[in-house]
Symmetry: C2
Subunit: 378 residues, 2 copies
């Protein structure tokens, strides 16, 4: 809880909600949503000609609360406080920033825990599987509603970076800059394998009840906890885990039992347990599927270069040396495909021990590069 908000903070913020029910949203899965709501936050001021708007796309377990505090009692600011605010890379003195919670989410936008108007019960497993392209389409409607015909930039890290790339492909005229951080043009078999173990943990939890757990007043705690613990291992690098925990024992000695012994166990269990209180298992399942399915090259003879032929935005691509979830090699695939098409792309590999989570950290080199790029945007 901050006593006084720092001068580079956007301050106290409130979320807004918009309803979209004029035209059904047709989805990649073949189904459509006749009506849906998106909850979002905005920071900064939209200028007269609506040319300073930036869209932030969030990652797997994030939401629309990207910056600032809800109240002076809040313990934590939004998830990208390091990058959004006055004087920061996404400078709210200059930009009007929009961050929605994704469709299928669990923080206010329509998702599995929302009421299905057809049944008056929560959607649960009947909520359609959403793709990155579906998200982009739903975000385009939000842009229309806000009167933003072209984003100054669409920006995202991890799964958010995939959305930014999809924006550049699907709506080439509707963004001038595209910033893709710690992402990949598609998942590897290993990435999918980790997602599958996480999903199986949830799906086989007896409290999952085929996704109808809301009706049983329970949640698949065990499964969601395991999914999160596993996720956390892939967000950190081996080096950062060594630096943070090493082989430190919580009580200084081995106990020859299965209670927490090593500090790293304690950390993971805490992360797993606290996630259960703030995230919905059905949403977690949906988000991992969106990751697995993302593969814009697929419809273009598996050629990413072909998929990017028509993009018009300028690109900034950033990767981190110790990110083994989406390694620098994956970012370079995107850079190469853009260069194949003679597109305008800047690429930086930031040296960091923080693994995939580096994109959430105030790493000086990262902030510097990001800020310099954004300062030069028009």
């Amino acid at each position: 809880m901050p006593d006084i908000l720092p001068p580079d903070c956007v301050g106290l913020v409130t979320a807004k909600t918009s309803k979209f029910d004029k035209t059904p949203l047709s989805l990649d899965c073949g189904r459509s949503l006749s009506s849906y709501e998106l909850v979002y936050e905005t920071y900064g001021t939209l200028n007269k000609d609506h040319s300073n708007a930036i869209l932030i796309c969030h990652a797997l377990s994030s939401d629309h609360h990207a910056a600032g505090y809800y109240s002076m009692q809040d313990k934590k600011p939004g998830w990208w406080e390091s990058c959004i605010g006055p004087g920061k890379p996404i400078d709210t003195n200059r930009f009007f920033v929009v961050c929605p919670n994704n469709l299928g989410g669990c923080k206010g936008s329509t998702g599995p825990n929302s009421t299905n108007p057809d049944t008056n019960k929560p959607y649960g497993p009947d909520f359609p599987i959403i793709t990155v392209r579906d998200w982009v389409k739903s975000q385009a409607r939000l842009a229309d509603m806000l009167g933003i015909s072209q984003w100054l930039a669409v920006i995202g890290g991890s799964l958010g970076g995939m959305q930014a790339l999809q924006w550049a492909i699907d709506y080439p005229k509707h963004l001038r800059n595209c910033v893709i951080i710690a992402a990949a043009p598609k998942l590897t078999a290993q990435n999918i394998a980790f997602n599958e173990v996480a999903r199986q943990a949830i799906l086989t939890d007896p409290d999952f009840h085929d996704g109808h757990y809301y009706q049983y007043n329970t949640v698949p705690k065990q499964g969601l906890m395991l999914a999160r613990m596993l996720g956390h291992i892939t967000y950190l690098s081996e080096a950062s885990m060594r630096d943070k925990f090493g082989r430190e024992l919580r009580e200084g000695k081995l106990n020859f039992g299965f209670d927490v012994e090593f500090q790293v166990e304690s950390y993971l269990r805490y992360q797993g347990r606290s996630f259960v209180d703030r995230f919905d298992a059905n949403t977690y399942l949906l988000m991992t599927k969106a990751l697995d399915y993302f593969d814009p090259a697929k419809e273009h003879d598996n050629s990413l270069s072909k998929a990017l032929t028509n993009v018009m935005a300028k690109f900034l691509v950033i990767s981190f040396t110790s990110d083994w979830r989406f390694s620098s090699a994956r970012s370079r695939e995107m850079v190469k495909a853009l260069l194949d098409n003679k597109k305008d792309v800047s690429y930086t590999e930031v040296t960091s021990h923080d693994g995939h989570d580096a994109f959430l950290m105030p790493i000086p080199h990262f902030i510097q590069v990001f800020k310099a790029y954004m300062q030069n945007t028009e």
Copy 2:
């Protein structure tokens, strides 16, 4: 099922069991076992002066069935068929090979699913936590019983390599060669983290019943399946997963549901399910703890060099380029500590795409180096 056994196979084998009940085996945890059995297999013939005996130590989920077939109807040979047999690196024309199932195992040696003589019920969670040092101590008694005062070599891959290293430290005069393959001198925080997720999957399975599941005629299927799925990801390299599965879809198209879609999902679920039928969850828990606890440097001011001062064996250390569970850097830590002490050590890093599992594969360079070393042993 082989129609005719190949000439480089040890042929049909049978397991033997020995009981040890003269002196209680005192364990690192402070408890002791007054009586225990070890099941083991032997291949080749012990020579007159008992100088050609080799001990094979097995890894996490293996057992004493390292080579040959139990019957002509068997579909698969023992787990190290690639390395044990006439003319192979562990040449049964020359060596007498002993491979026991570790104490705490579930394939015949005394373990959690054995009857506790004090209660006439399965030990279950009351079976003591066993360390690598305890295993070595129990194997030394087996050596005594077999009349083997000095092994020509103690050999192991992964957790088996850790046992080989511990042998060299604890019984320096009782082995002339020590072969350590795809191992590490201790686990990293990331290694422990993966083990902890696997353990939590088992411990939080409602069918685990605090380890007393035998009494409930059930097994913690879901937890053990998840543990195995996760393990498998760490045994393979990203490259081998890409080569094996890529992003291939089992039915050629996306189904927008949570059934198996990608081939890698199908593979992992199969591995997970089949493991449940052949392995005991309490044993899995014990094995992961033995891994976590292994750290011979700890009692020597965290100096591996100091821990290895008194070893007398010659060493062969082998690692594999794509093994990210126990990377080559971890093998080099052991090599360096041995060189610090001016010990006789050969080290080879084998180029391979097969990840940690490479030590089980018939990789020509690996087999060649291993064979050449063994041919020169005395």
